[in-house]
Symmetry: C2
Subunit: 226 residues, 2 copies
């Protein structure tokens, strides 16, 4: 249980085999959201994926590994770490975050259901909790690097440590996602802009940077989201 999830398989993956894994993970995610973590069996996951039951044990060390990996993928789908790492400025990053809040494919009922079930299950399963907190720590590390760069550029307030601002950014992002799930009318754009305004130094303003994260030309979003 303490091995990195799926490690033993990742080293010998072939394209076909990888497709089988993906189908099992997608099936597991659907079932977690529908039935709750405790209600999923490896047999049901194989059936949902239209695969023989043996495919599960070939690819995963049992139910908990299958479901844990499905949960970690749900986090990564909601906030893609690789795209987060491509953000070169905090403005660009906040644009990405605002875009995700509006992106229904990332923010679907399956992903949010899986994440809440995983949070619940992590109270019972220390290995799952460890995997989730390790993933969150990776996000924080990546955010702290960006904050550090921006502080050296003089565009982000230099008082707080990069690690503190990274913890704050990630928590805010997750909290906004959670509250937007409960209240789809919640103005997350206004809140993200407020965060941006607080982080930005006055020198960043006077350099004529965009005054809103959603108007950043580097943003992959279109402004008509607002």
């Amino acid at each position: 249980m303490d091995n990195p999830v799926g490690q033993h398989e990742r080293t010998k993956e072939r394209p076909r085999s990888d497709e089988t894994r993906q189908r099992l993970l997608a099936a597991a995610a659907e079932l977690i959201a529908e039935r709750g973590w405790g209600g999923v069996t490896t047999r049901a996951a194989a059936e949902r994926a239209c695969l023989p039951h043996g495919a599960v044990s070939y690819h995963f060390h049992g139910k908990q590994e299958l479901l844990t990996e499905a949960a970690l993928r749900a986090v990564e789908r909601m906030i893609p770490l690789d795209r987060l790492e491509t953000a070169e400025t905090l403005t660009g990053l906040l644009s990405l975050i605002t875009a995700w809040m509006h992106d229904e494919s990332a923010f679907d009922a399956v992903s949010s259901g899986v994440l809440m079930e995983a949070m619940r299950e992590s109270e019972r399963d220390p290995a799952l909790r460890h995997h989730l907190s390790t993933l969150l720590a990776e996000y924080r590390r990546s955010l702290a690097e960006l904050v550090d760069t921006e502080q050296h550029r003089g565009t982000v307030a230099t008082g707080p440590a990069p690690s503190a601002l990274a913890t704050l950014l990630l928590a805010t992002c997750d909290g906004l996602l959670l509250h937007a799930l409960l209240d789809p009318e919640l103005d997350v754009v206004e809140a993200t802009r407020a965060l941006h305004a607080l982080l930005r130094t006055q020198s960043a303003d006077s350099e004529g940077r965009p005054d809103s994260p959603t108007t950043d030309p580097r943003s992959p979003t279109t402004p008509d989201h607002e």
Copy 2:
């Protein structure tokens, strides 16, 4: 289902009757955390509270009302709105929040389990979602009033609207609680201080206000939490 939870009983409560309600609500909360929302029955709640089954239907319109009220109480126990409204400054408020993060009685496994189950259930039950989002809106209103007062005092950055900062504050608070559940080592004090530093104007600093929320003399906490 659309009536305010428990409204029909609250108007004719007697002390003894109120104690019965409290016992049923506490029993329901325990059972939600242990078995999940779907696994709780009114019979089990009555048994756990050592009361006859009829006590449930005397006090609540069925299972969903009992469990919904138990969930709303868990939110209020985690972040007591009445104490939040006593905070006269943002510094005082952030002290309260930091204290709650360290207060194990507020931050227990039952409350967090109930909240996660309620979030899951709110996907299925629009009335529960409405109650939860209404409660969050009350918190935001209270926070926005405080922000507005502080902005008029010149102690909080005046760029963002009070409502935007209130949304941001509540989301950050909830996100930090969630992440601290996954990782008890997470430095929430550092993150709360960073938030405070971002919100504070330079004029607030030069007036010699305390530079950390946890050193505010109005704080009910002791500084050795850090």
